[in-house]
């Protein structure tokens, strides 16, 4: 008896189980489990790009979004690109619904960033390689240093040679390729030196945006819808503070139209900036106008007081930092879970897990009327959960509710397969007067054929889920696959040995 127990304990399958189990317990003790936002609380947002993008662009989107959200002052941000048009953003430690909604706006306000000089786009957000910390001077002037790519620097050097003081414009999300219809006063302002920095001889804003973005600006003089349609010539129309009554008419004529109303107290200059997404113009410094490409540049400005200077500098800083998004995003799904609620899900999952184990124990006992079978079955399941959790902690897998469901699925099949093993071992009892040893081997072999076949099907099915499904079910697939693998390679072989010992066959 003792010899047999010893033999069991030194069986490599049991040793493997013990190694995995103690490894998992050690891991769990040193590295706490991380939970998904549906348990720990937080917000998950699913955004879609305006059009499908290639993998390189997707990488860029993910990277800049991550930077932007970090700049926004959030920790624990996870940004993940899926497929060619989906970006999943998960942010922990968000405590109110308002905060969650603000985040949605941040993601959606991600625009396309352009740097323009003399009517030529010399760089986009992609060309900003580094943004330094902004500085506020005692005279309320401010500066934001940043670095642009070599190609952009070269292009800019050629363009800007000998043009010190000329305006450099930055745009975030301008209405590219459109007909801009504005009030007369606004048109006059755009068609003047007002946006020319210190160079009255430079082309006016109207001309610059026309050359750079194909935006045609006209002053509104009670044109009819038909006239506007003709002027637009197939381009979308943006009506700024004028002609609201034309919107429906134009739409009926199949013209894409956007109406931008003026909020009270907004000046013409402010309206121009907000419609165009214009930052600047910033005056070109002497040092940059000598034709030598320079990658380290800075934007400077001057404000009336320190607070305002700080605000301006911070805005420019954020725009530069985050403006490198090559495509617009729209949030198509969001889920906000308050941390308190998540906590209650966690305890429930724990209780449910314990209750499920007890249920398994009792039902297995009821079927065999034998604790020597019921206890090992239930404890093997417990070991299996421990090992899955240990691996989850090791790879820092975020356990979300679907992951927990996956663990439960793995336990369910685990118990099933242990019963297959047990029954195969018990099964031939009546007939085993014939060569007991070989028939045990045969029956265990048959049990493992069943186990491998079902494991293979489950893994095959789940792999597709892992590869093809975008969104929230990846955790389910991952944990199920981990569970099945642990099952077939570690816990099931060990259980078979234990069962052989307990059932009394060897």
């Amino acid at each position: 008896m003792n010899r047999k127990l010893k033999k069991l304990l030194f069986n490599w399958r049991i040793i493997l189980l013990i190694i995995f189990l103690s490894g998992s317990i050690a891991t769990l003790a040193t590295r706490p489990l991380t939970f998904g936002i549906d348990i720990s609380g937080g917000v998950a947002l699913i955004a879609q790009t305006e059009h499908p993008v290639d993998s390189k662009t997707m990488e860029l989107v993910v990277d800049s979004l991550q930077k932007r959200l970090n700049t926004y002052g959030l920790r624990d941000v996870q940004v993940q690109g899926q497929g060619n048009d989906i970006v999943v953003v998960k942010v922990a430690n968000v405590t109110s619904a308002e905060e969650a909604n603000a985040l949605k706006k941040v993601i959606e306000s991600q625009g396309v960033f352009y740097m323009e000089f003399d009517g030529v786009i010399f760089g986009t957000g992609k060309d900003i390689t580094y943004v330094g910390v902004y500085k506020i001077n005692p005279d309320n002037s401010w500066e934001v240093p940043f670095r642009i790519s070599k190609t952009a620097a070269e292009k800019f050097a050629t363009l800007a040679k000998g043009k010190a003081g000329w305006p450099v414009d930055m745009f975030l999300d301008p209405p590219i390729n459109s007909l801009l219809v504005v009030p007369k006063s606004m048109y006059d302002l755009m068609n003047s030196t007002a946006f020319n920095a210190n160079a009255p001889q430079a082309p006016y804003l109207v001309e610059r945006i026309h050359d750079a973005f194909n935006i045609t600006t006209i002053a509104y003089a009670n044109q009819s819808a038909e006239e506007l349609k003709k002027l637009a010539d197939g381009k979308p129309i943006v009506l700024v503070d004028v002609g609201a009554s034309l919107v429906d008419k134009l739409r009926a004529m199949n013209v894409s139209v956007r109406y931008v109303p003026r909020q009270s107290g907004v000046s013409d200059a402010e309206l121009v900036r907000s419609v165009l997404g214009l930052y600047g113009p910033y005056s070109l410094g002497e040092g940059l106008a000598n034709g030598v490409p320079q990658t380290d540049v800075q934007i400077t400005g001057h404000a009336a007081n320190r607070l305002q200077a700080e605000q301006e500098a911070k805005t420019v800083y954020t725009v530069l930092k985050s403006g490198s998004l090559p495509v617009k995003l729209k949030v198509i799904g969001m889920q906000f879970i308050s941390p308190k609620l998540g906590e209650s899900f966690k305890t429930q999952a724990l209780y449910a897990g314990i209750a499920a184990l007890i249920a398994v124990l009792l039902i297995v006992y009821f079927h065999y009327r034998n604790w020597k079978i019921a206890i090992p079955v239930a404890s093997t399941s417990l070991f299996e959960v421990t090992i899955i959790l240990g691996i989850a902690a090791l790879i820092k897998w975020n356990l979300d509710l679907p992951s927990i469901a996956g663990i439960i699925a793995a336990i369910g099949t685990g118990v099933d397969q242990q019963i297959v093993i047990t029954d195969e071992l018990l099964g031939g009892e009546k007939l085993t007067k014939i060569t007991r040893r070989s028939s045990t081997l045969k029956r265990i072999g048959r049990a493992f054929f069943i186990i491998f076949a079902s494991a293979a099907t489950t893994i095959a099915a789940m792999s597709f889920l892992l590869v093809y499904f975008v969104g929230t079910l990846k955790g389910f697939a991952v944990t199920t696959i981990i569970g099945v693998l642990i099952g077939i390679f570690v816990t099931r072989p060990a259980y078979a040995e234990i069962a052989k010992y307990l059932v009394g066959e060897d």
Binding site: Y351, P402, G412
Partner: protein, 302 residues
């Protein structure tokens, strides 16, 4: 030595023998009947689906859900009040968690600002804990497409693996049909009980593939690879194992369903319960019938 040890599992064996006796009626059923009844149920399930497909959850359809924990209120009244305040029709349901916390869920169409709903509820229930999710129809469309794709591919992968393992068209097709019927019946039951089709329930349907194949592979292996017993004996031994398997899993799932208040986990549990019940019929009656019929045509004594 051997005799002494044989005594230990003896008790268990005796009990199992009794159970087998109880299940003997299944073994005595005529194979044709065993095939026809489950087929009839499958067709009824298809008809049910045609008449009453399960409603799509907001993550597949688009919409807004606001959950308030710690609100003890009459859902109908809240529904009326919110609908009139918001100017759109909302649905409100209440629930109680196992610790006794009461709460409500407000379902509104896509486009309603969830923060607005929360602010309204806060006026009346300032101490409740709020949570919301919002899905645009575009995402619903995407999730639906991917759900269909995931199920289709998972099913195909399962079918291929089953074929590779058994290399016999009759037993493989019987397994594949059982899995299909399990899923169909589970979805039909969802329709009957008004359980929504969501990404979570799609996950449950996928999980069902794993469970279904388990018991079917057990049956097929026992019946086609077991040479030392009669088919009836092999079938009885398989069905008693299967019965134990299903009841333990059902027990665990029932506990899960009972204790959790998370709609994700609840729905996964309930769909699996439906599927496992269907699987019991499809494996131990339909598939067994097919195999017995098949083996008898091949001249194996039944």
């Amino acid at each position: 030595m051997a005799r002494k040890k044989a005594k230990k599992p003896g008790e268990a064996n005796e009990f199992r023998a009794k159970k087998r006796e109880k299940l003997r009626f299944l073994a005595e059923m005529e194979p044709r009947k065993m095939i026809i009844y489950p087929l009839a149920v499958f067709i009824v399930a298809l008809l049910l689906l045609a008449v009453h497909f399960p409603p799509l959850g907001i993550d597949l359809k688009g919409g807004v859900v606001v959950t308030g924990y710690g609100i003890n209120a009459n859902p109908d009244q809240v529904e009326k009040w919110l609908s009139s305040e918001l100017g759109v029709n909302v649905n409100v349901e209440s629930f109680t968690s196992v610790e006794g916390t009461k709460g409500i869920r407000v379902y509104a169409p896509a486009g309603v600002d969830p923060v607005k709903i929360i602010n309204l509820l806060k006026q009346k229930y300032p101490n409740a804990e709020y949570t919301h999710s919002e899905v645009l129809p575009t995402f619903g469309e995407l999730a639906k497409k991917q759900g269909i794709k995931a199920i289709a591919f998972a099913f195909l992968a399962m079918a291929v693996v089953v074929f590779l393992f058994f290399r016999n068209p009759v037993s493989s097709l019987a397994i594949i049909f059982s899995a299909l019927s399990d899923m169909t019946i589970a979805v039909a039951m969802m329709g009957v009980f008004g359980i929504q089709l969501t990404t979570a329930t799609i996950a449950a349907l996928l999980m069902l593939i794993g469970y279904t194949v388990d018991s079917n592979i057990l049956l097929t292996t026992k019946l086609t690879r077991r040479k030392e017993d009669t088919i009836e004996e092999a079938y009885l031994s398989a069905v008693s194992t299967g019965f134990t398997m299903s009841t333990t899993t059902l027990g665990a799932l029932f506990m899960l369903w009972l204790i959790s208040t998370s709609p994700t986990i609840d729905n996964i549990a309930i769909v699996l319960i439906f599927g496992l019940l269907a699987d019991f019929m499809n494996t131990w009656i339909f598939n067994a019938g097919v195999l017995r019929w098949y083996l008898s045509t091949r001249g194996v004594k039944a």
